[in-house]
Symmetry: C2
Subunit: 336 residues, 2 copies
DNA sequence: CTGTTAGCGCGTTCAA
DNA sequence: TTGAACGCGCTAACAG
């Protein structure tokens, strides 16, 4: 391994002081003569000089990096398209602003021992949580003690250094429900994962509000881990016990599509016999037939916005807004 | 913002030298008395001391970080489940080994200006490439000049500091083709994206080899950006010109499912009238009906292995193997 | 077992 | 316009 050239090496080659080289590197052009700069730039290229960021950061007392912490109980933590889009959005903005993104996926029971809470300091943090409500609260309290700006996705927390970015699940769910009740639906079954995320609660609340206002009812079907098999078995079970509702309202598209598949395979017609709706639309809904009525999550935008707010807060020391909610677009389809 | 406690602060509070504190932190227990250590640990917790990694790294001349560079022309670069799984696998192993993963997604035309090639130094690099064959080769040559171990996903390059990790696309494609020709198929249409990745070439080669050995033929259908619409229109076009083949062999599951959808909507029976196969299976193939015959990519394992090999090479200075190929599992389905 | 010294590479300060 | 000295926080090497 060849030793990396340092600022001093470049300076020596050019016969100037290291400060002059530093001035060139940092664009303080007026401090340096034109041909001196020329000579220095040539030497930099020649020697393959690269800054030592550790030294720069030590000097500047900044890490120039943003941590992204994903609490999830599966090892393939980017498999969830929602998370993947948030990370892409954040990563793009961080890169653009010259920060580097440090990605860490962790089981929720290991959350408290993350190096991002320990020795790995960053200038800001973005996190998606999981686990029980108690675990999440404890974790949020821990994050708030770090003394750096923190953005939480689909969560809220009242603290000057914490900003929650969410999508407006309540309104979107209500909009879908409005559409359904206008078509005469009164008996809704809501497909929900066992884990009661705040977002899921919002969706159920929005659905229920609208439905009950017209004298309808919403029954929640527990679909376990929201996987294909778990969902189909929960739905099958529910049909056996309670018969078909007017609509299966999906807490997300995965559950909606598993249900759609089950119903079609049983010869049940959609939307004639029963309607199905989804939520948090992703690419693969294109493969559903009939097209799913669903809601398009602004996940990528949430990630980007997390980056924007984080960078602003890291530079100003505080968040302008501590709770941001993004609108969700309803996508029409023939499934309802 | 409260100033972070330093090693020296801790030392002062405990009335010892900073070296003693450092010894405690780094587990050099035999160098320190038991009650001294006790006192120091207490002070560390009390002051909320956290190491300054920049200083540690400057001192150690190591970055303790791994860069992950994803060249892709869409901003939502983790949308591809293959990439997402590779990143998860790498991230998990990096975290486990105490390295931090720096994630950067970049358009291929910006590749050369990535900070990971410039000032952002890491101890190792993992990359997925895109762009034309020339662009990719130029980029690989650039990576090889960095002087750090580099792992390339689904690529190969002959250089002591570069290791290619691939899945065995050729064999898997050949296996699928064997199955098809055994069932009597001779006239195959291969669904391929316009971009000719090495992996796609391998798949076509494996398919062709087997097919031609029995006197069959493989025709390639250009599906453009491999999206839902592009694929359907290419397939529709091809059917108009050449009629139905015995099998549509999908270069990946997205194209296979778009084709499946199109055929079903036209009342064409699968597999009676025509067979369809996929490749690089991901979760949502569960929603296909009939179940798709496809190949299960070991993407997560490739990412993990990239981490393993990278860490070994970073520590030993060289790769043990410079070309690694992982087997692919064929997943049976009724679509063929 | 504990303390001292020195220096990693950079940027700021102050003087020339 | 440039140079020298200093210190960011940490640890290896050596001394006590």
């Amino acid at each position: 391994m060849i030793k990396q050239a340092t600022l001093k090496d470049v300076a020596k080659v050019c016969g100037v002081s290291s400060m002059t080289v530093s001035n060139v590197l940092n664009g303080r052009d007026k401090e340096v003569g034109a041909k001196t700069r020329e000579r220095i730039l040539y030497a930099i290229a020649e020697l393959g000089y690269r800054q030592n960021l550790a030294a720069k950061r030590l000097r500047a007392q900044k890490t120039s990096s943003i941590g992204m912490l994903i609490l999830d109980d599966v090892s393939d933590f980017l498999n969830d398209p929602f998370i993947a889009q948030v990370v892409s959005g954040l990563s793009n903005h961080a890169t653009e602003k010259g920060y580097n993104l440090i990605l860490q996926g962790l089981r929720s029971d290991m959350a408290m021992s993350s190096s991002l809470l320990g020795n790995l300091r960053t200038d800001g943090l973005c996190a998606t949580l999981s686990g029980t409500s108690d675990q999440r609260r404890a974790f949020k309290e821990r994050l708030a003690t770090l003394g750096i700006p923190v953005v939480l996705i689909q969560e809220e927390f009242d603290h000057p250094l914490v900003c929650g970015i969410r999508q407006d699940d309540y309104t979107a769910a209500a909009e879908i429900a409005e559409y359904l009740v206008a078509k005469g639906a009164r008996n809704l079954h809501y497909l929900s994962p066992s884990a009661q995320w705040p977002a899921i609660k919002e969706r159920i609340a929005g659905t229920t509000k609208v439905c009950e206002a017209v004298g309808g009812s919403v029954k929640v079907i527990d679909c376990g881990d929201e996987g294909f098999k778990a969902t189909q078995s929960a739905v099958s079970n529910s049909i056996g016990l309670h018969g078909l509702p007017d609509v299966f309202v999906g807490g997300n598209d995965r559950m909606a599509m598993a249900t759609l598949r089950l119903l079609i395979d049983r010869g049940i017609r959609i939307p004639e016999d029963v309607c199905v709706t989804g939520f948090n639309s992703f690419d693969f809904v294109a493969f559903a037939q009939p097209k799913l009525l669903t809601a398009q999550s602004p996940a990528h935008e949430m990630g980007r916005l997390a980056g924007v707010e984080l960078v602003k807060a890291m530079e100003s020391g505080e968040f302008q807004d501590r709770a941001i909610s993004l609108p969700i677009t309803i996508v029409r389809g023939q499934s309802a």
